[in-house]
């Protein structure tokens, strides 16, 4: 075990800001990316579902399709 105590661990030999700054931002970015990908998938599926309902309801698939396409 490298560290005498947890507080020494967090202090990281006086470089806490730099080490935890690096790891913290990296963790933030990784988790952020995961959330973004998941949300993107959910939004895509929702948009396609809404699109499908609209085109199914439209009189002529082609006409309704044109109005919906953002």
């Amino acid at each position: 075990m490298q560290w005498e105590s947890w507080s020494a661990f967090w202090d990281m030999g006086g470089f806490a800001a730099f080490v935890w700054g690096s790891y913290g931002v990296t963790a933030l970015l990784v988790v952020g990316e995961l959330i973004l990908v998941m949300r993107r998938r959910r939004d895509t599926v929702r948009r396609l579902l809404r699109l499908r309902r609209a085109t199914a309801a439209g009189v002529n698939g082609r006409r309704a399709f044109e109005e919906i396409v953002e």
């Binding site: 082609r62 399709f65 044109e66 396409v69």
Partner: protein, 208 residues
């Protein structure tokens, strides 16, 4: 002989047509009809190899056009909506450039005769930017009178902005071209006095 098999096209994310087959034999003329937005221009551009179809294949004399691009383009003359005209050049310079760029050997007086015939005698040496929309389209059409040995003519709305006399003259030229064994694929909203009524492909009936 132009032959297209099972063509499909999606513009952006709008599906236009699918499973489209067409065949243009020497001497034949095909009119592509259909309301706006059904992909008439897209089909023409796909036939020329300017655009890639979603799926399907196009053959010229039984050779896929992307396999032997040079032979196909040597036999093709495409006139699109834009008249391929640069505003800073005169009609004569523009016409001579499009011939040279297409690899045709055409000397000056033939170009002048073509421009005079299409009704641009006075505008020969004016910069193209002063020309009217109809005059600009005529410079594009002048290439049809140059007697270049291009078999397949693909014309997008050739008759727009032309007066009655020019329409008749152009229709006669197209009919002569077909009579001489050439092929024409065109789109137009007005019926023109062709020697023989063209075959019609209506995109509205081609389901997606």
């Amino acid at each position: 002989m132009l032959y297209a098999n099972d063509l499909a096209c999606v513009k952006g994310d709008r599906p236009l047509f699918r499973g489209l087959n067409l065949q243009v034999a020497p001497g034949a003329m095909l009119r592509v009809a259909g309301p706006n937005g059904y992909g008439k221009t897209s089909l023409l551009r796909i036939l020329c190899g300017l655009a890639l179809p979603e799926s399907g294949e196009i053959r010229w004399n039984d050779v896929p056009i992307n396999r032997d691009r040079e032979t196909f383009h040597r036999a093709l003359l495409y006139l699109g909506h834009a008249a391929a005209l640069n505003d800073l050049l005169t009609p004569l310079e523009n016409l001579r450039f499009s011939c040279a760029a297409g690899g045709d050997k055409v000397d000056e007086d033939i170009c002048i005769d073509a421009l005079v015939r299409i009704g641009l005698a006075e505008q020969l040496d004016l910069p193209a930017r002063v020309l009217s929309q109809g005059q600009r389209r005529r410079v594009g059409l002048a290439r049809l009178f140059l007697g270049t040995r291009r078999k397949l003519w693909v014309l997008d709305e050739p008759f727009t902005a032309l007066d009655v006399a020019a329409v008749a003259d152009l229709a006669a030229t197209l009919s002569d071209h077909c009579a001489a064994g050439g092929m024409v694929v065109l789109t137009t909203h007005q019926d023109a006095p062709f020697a023989k009524p063209p075959a019609v492909l209506n995109l509205a009936e081609v389901a997606w």
